[in-house]
Amino acid sequence: MDIMQILALVIPAAIYAAAPLILTALGGLFSERSGVVNIGLEGLMVVGAFTGIVVTLALEGMGLGIASTWIAMIAAVVIGALFSLFHAVASITFRADQIVSGVALNFLAVGLTVFLIRLFYGKGQTDYIRNRIYREDVPFLSDIPIIGPLFFANAYVTSYIAIALTLVVYYVVFYTPFGLRLRSVGEHPMAADTMGIHVNKMRYIGVMLSGAFAGLGGAVFAVTVSGNFSGTTIVGQGFMALAALIFGKWNPLGVLGAALFFGLAQALSITGAQIPLLANVPSVFLLIAPYVLTILALAGFVGRAEAPKAIGKPYVKGSR
């Protein structure tokens, strides 16, 4: 394979693998920027994937065709947001430890969804959906030499949605009053409170947005990658998204870069076995490469990532 062929293989695959991570990590960004740690991203993705598949199956059954998949993704956004209330109520209103609450959410998500799958279908996993999101060439753009085949041919619409949302989130977080308030609540909730901002309300919004985005992330994974749902559909992607969030220093563009980096490394680890230069490298090195590279990057040039200051602490009026 020549280099162009390899790139044409690896880059679309990287973008494809990164999309669910990007979406989920953006969700985490809202939550953590508001001061609520979200270890529960994994569970929220599970719920999103579950909703994505179950709704698609149901609507397909009613003959809606590809529309079912899109409706299912919207449903996943809504259900994800609702499910995240569990984390919000626990960690904001009940002042639970945010990490504990996130861990509980992960357990609950897997238990509940698989339980429901058994209840609905009498078995541990769903059928495959028929109306997946498949790859398409972007008209015109895919004909541009070099860039075209790399970025616009054989691509998933969902990847473009993820990238577009990144830009939207960037704008919202850094240029709107909402973003400023969200960040202030995560940095210094008491200060925000004295400025008349309702801290807990902002945090609820942050956590619910994380549920919405992670739900979408899970659904995108389900309808592009796995095609069905079981207890093992989402295994660790949520944690990778969390890593992308930290790696990306809680900045949407950083998150995008980190997720693409993970996607690239993952794509290389699979494709590498068939690239002449890499074929003789034991596959384990390719498999662990994304993780090792991340660590090296963090230790080397990325350096210290500074979390929102008030993260992890419930806000109690008047305490210091």
Binding site: A8, I270, T271
Partner: protein, 355 residues
């Protein structure tokens, strides 16, 4: 490969060394049978499901009640194999099935501790420390290499770019049988064909499956066979993706007829054919034997082409006439013992040099 008696699913497939067993026939009314699945569960579109179908058919045939007389337990991780098996044994279930070679150790332990238990395992031969089969375990294996040979023949004939691929789940003796049988089949009809092989190192990662298939197709392979469980579903995803963009690519399924998995558009399918493995038949037969007091403990039952227990799927829409004929021809030759299908890498090397 061992010699077999006349084919037919109604008959005992194995008669080599029918060890005389003490136990009496229990009779359908008191007979209980249970199986333990691995993580996949009874709807994994693969051999857990197939086993369960065999058991259901058996139960319905003999008027047993589901849930009490025949039932299954699903393991949610490997640590649960042994407790699940033991649960059934402790309830004095007459025959306890362990589905999959990963249950070997759990079954061995229990069999040695509870000598009166009657156990059976699929896809493995459980031996004691000396290497002799244990007397209260029935070992059910398949000649997957023979079935894989036949789909290999089909692939060898229908490839247009002279390049085909194989995706394995986790590398090991079992999946090697699929790989080598397949490669031998391809080479038998198309000695020039190039075969790309990659293992996904996982049976439940369709994502990897898809990316591996993507790479193989991109390199010019037009037919890919998988023996990778759920990982293989990624192959179908990728093949459909390409077929929808009017590429001429095919996938070959495994274990069951995977025509449906390859469906897209209106009624087309990217599934060229599938290598079926009739675990259900085996489960049915052994359960019946046991009920009749003829538990094949200590035996190694090897199901192959003769028993129609491996072979090519009934859906043949996408196969060329030429390929179908060739498959029949080679099937006869294997059954006749004219071709000995390689299982391991060494056997494959030998086979190649004999071509």
């Amino acid at each position: 490969a061992g010699e077999e008696e006349a084919p037919g699913t109604e008959e005992d497939p194995m008669t080599e060394e029918t060890a005389p067993e003490e136990e009496e026939a229990v009779g359908a009314e008191d007979f209980t049978v249970g199986m333990v699945t691995d993580v996949g569960g009874i709807d994994d579109k693969s051999f857990n499901q197939s086993s369960w179908e065999g058991l259901v058919e058996f139960g319905q045939e003999f008027g047993l009640e589901e849930g009490t007389d025949y039932r299954y337990l699903q393991s949610s991780d490997i640590a649960e194999f042994e407790p699940n098996l033991r649960n059934l044994v402790r309830e004095d279930v007459n025959l306890v099935w362990g589905i999959g070679y990963l249950m070997e150790d759990a079954i061995r332990t229990i069999a040695q501790q509870v000598e009166e238990a009657q156990l059976a395992i699929v896809d493995s031969v459980v031996t004691d420390e000396e290497g002799t089969p244990i007397s209260n375990i029935a070992n059910i294996t398949f000649k997957e290499h023979e079935g894989s040979f036949l789909v290999g023949v089909a692939a060898g004939l229908q490839t247009e770019g002279n390049k085909v691929g194989f995706i394995g789940g986790v590398e090991g003796a079992l999946i090697k049988k699929f790989e080598n049988g397949f490669k031998a089949g391809v080479k038998a009809v198309n000695p020039d064909a190039e075969i790309i092989v990659q293992y996904a190192e996982s049976f439940n990662n369709p994502d990897r499956g898809a990316q591996i298939a993507n790479t193989m197709y991109s390199q010019g392979a037009d037919i890919i066979y998988h023996a990778a469980g759920d990982t293989g579903n990624g192959l179908f995803t990728e093949a459909i993706n390409r077929a929808r963009n009017d590429e001429n690519v095919w996938a070959i399924g495994v274990d069951r007829d995977q025509h449906e998995e390859g469906e897209y558009g209106d009624g087309q399918s990217v599934t060229l054919t599938s290598m079926v493995k009739r675990v259900d038949t085996a489960v049915y037969l052994v359960s019946e034997r046991t009920m009749n007091g003829d538990f094949p403990g200590g035996e190694i039952l090897e199901y192959g082409l003769d028993d129609e227990a491996v072979g090519i799927a009934p859906s043949t829409d996408n196969m060329s006439e030429e390929a179908l004929q060739a498959v029949e021809k080679y099937k006869a030759q294997i059954q006749a013992g004219d071709i000995s299908v390689p299982q391991s890498d060494e056997e494959y090397e030998e086979y190649l040099s004999s071509l």
